[in-house]
Amino acid sequence: MLEVSGLRKVYDSHGRRVEAIGDLTFTVPDGSLTCVVGPSGCGKTTLLRCIAGLLQPTAGEVRVQGSLVSGPPAGLAVVFQEYGRSLFHWLRVRENVELPLKAARMPKSRRGELVADALDAVGLADAHSAYPWQLSGGMQQRVAIARAIAYQPKVLLMDEPFAAVDAQTRADLEDLIREVWRRLGVTLLFVTHDIDEAVYLGERVIVLSASPTRVADDLPIDLPDLRDQLTTRADPRFTELRGRVYAQIQKAKAERTPT
Amino acid sequence: MNRTVLGLLGLVTFGGLLEVAPRVGLVPAQYAPPSSRIAAALAEQARQPQFWAALGDTVQTWLTGLAIAVAAGLAVGVLLGAVPMLWSVTATTVEFLRPIPSVALIPLVVVLYGSTIRATVVLVVYAAFWQVLLQVLHGVADVDPVARDTARVYRLGRWARLRYLVWPSALPYVVTGVRLAASVALILAVTGSLIVGSPGLGKEIEVARQSGAAPAVYALVVVTGLLGVVANVATRAIERRVLAWHTAVRTEVGA
């Protein structure tokens, strides 16, 4: 269970105050897949960094599995948007995935199994000894996902992980995420600015308003559990849900304009 | 704000250490005078025209050498970078000459030129030239392949390519090269003066040493350090300005 209550974050630098997050409260039940979507610049990344314990909120609190977050909590993994920057370029793919397990002092044989399984799951079984920069962008992001999988987190946070990959790769990766989530039973919070992606992936979509950010809408996605790029996206219900989210976001943008 | 205060605090602590260490006998005060005596010696130096002449000589050696090195480095670098054939012919020679330490030339310039400014200028030029040349070569090689193709598609002439393609891409490297060369050149200007005995701060240090005047030695060393700091700050400021302009132009073009 992931609980965000009364979260508020104000940046204060050089005498200028920027209120990134106004007041956010929501909970994400165990094992669910929740997408957070909002207009660009609405503090999505700030929210994610607060949940991950990388940023101290100004007010309010975040609880993961019931315990208050003050630093990066155990059992929580993050896949960052900048795959090119979140991988260790000097380590091979295998070593990249293995490093967090090493830090957790896991025995070597167990590490080997987890790494092999994770790379297998993301379809990189034959890229073990490549360096990240020898791979395409999509494959690099797969490495980052494999690292998160091998880490066996209870909660997985993803910060616009597909923002920088091409459309076809993105579709593949979206399906990969659904599959991984179903297999691991992990609690997944997926942040994106892409409405289609949010609706296609999520069991539930939280729409954020423009900053200072609040929850503008929180709607369950009642699409069939087994999703497919062709049929799901052609589903009239998909179009309807997408339309609703789109309208919310447009509204959020319009509200911001006068200020 | 905070940074400046901490930095000043650091300097004060450093000065304090230098003051206390000889006074409590950690180092012999005779050879390592406390900082107050160094400061007094510095004030004494500042009253002597000889000191200012030496400072002037060092700055002159430095700037003359730097100017020659930059001009030669630029000319040779652009030429070698622009004509691949030339580079393949000269590469081994450059790779051999470059790592030859400039001090290897000290006995040579002493024998050839004696203890003159010219001897030190040769050392300065030699050391600084490679810094510039290498950066220019990197810069010329770093032209964006897409931009290069674009220039070729639009059939830009050799001069236009140099002016609008090679030069702007190489500029940041050139500026970095000049900055690196400036600090190397200053080190060599002082070192040369010290070892070769050509007019300048280095020679004043040696004269003070030969006269057994330890505080004056330290005072002059402090001056060389300050000169170096000033040179670093100045070249970095120039670099920032030139490169700020450069990136500004780039983003404009890119947008």
């Binding site: - | 050879y31 203890s115 010219r118 040696e206 030969q210 006269s211 057994g212």
Partner: protein, 318 residues
Amino acid sequence: MRRPLVALFTAAALLTATACSSSGGEKPAAGQPDNVNAGVIAIVDVAPIYLGKQQGFFSKRNINLTLTTAQGGAAIVPAVVSGQYQFGFSNSISLLLAAEKGLPLKVVCNGNNSTGKDGEDFAGLFVKADSPIKSPKDLVGKTVAANTLKNIVEVSVRASVKKDGGDPAGVKFAELPFPDQLPALQAGRVDAIFVVEPFQAAAVAAGAKKIASSYVDAGPNLTVAMYFTSQQLESSNPDLVKRFTEAMKESLAYADSHPDDVRAVLGTYTQISADVRAKLTLPKWPAEVDTASVQTLADLAQSYGLLTKPANLTDLLP
């Protein structure tokens, strides 16, 4: 194809050209004073030339003298040969070494001599006050600091050892600049030091014990250093060399008889403080080269292996 080379060669040629153009003073326009560059070392020994310049001994002979201090004989000799300086100052052994290598040098006049008085010379061999070394012969197997190896200090110290009845070949030398010798002695890093003024004064003040005046031991009235020019200038402009020599001799005589002026002029080109200047022992400045003492030095240098063959003094000395 060869353009960068051409550029480099042009640059080199330009440098060389400017190098040549600066060697003035050889053929001045009529009535103009000769511009003369002399290379000296910023030590007590060269006080007469500074004093002579101050007193106008050079200008009244139509010489516009510029004094340039250099690192040492190793730098001054080549510069005189290549015409950077018209005249130079160097110690006698360096000049003998250079002459042996065939460098075209010509001594014009004396530089400075030891005082000739044992115990009261301007240079000396010192040990620590509590050192077991009582006299030079105890130095066998010990290390002595010398400002330059294989040079006049080495020859003179070995002469002291020999005179005291020790084996001169048994002394070891470590190269150490004068300013660093006293600290090294006090720290026990060397067993003895050989220093000249003002470091002799500092050694005395620090309680070090003088066991020999090696310049005196090497030979009576030892000619420690000399002023010289290139054989080329001597043949192309004998008049200038003659005038310089005369001015120099006048300067030497003046310095020898006006020690207070010497102590004053020291303050202009060294950083020696006034109280030290007042106390230090000055060398002797006879005008004429003591040929016999140079011959003695040459013989000593040969016997200690610095010179490989007997020196030809007639070509070198005036």
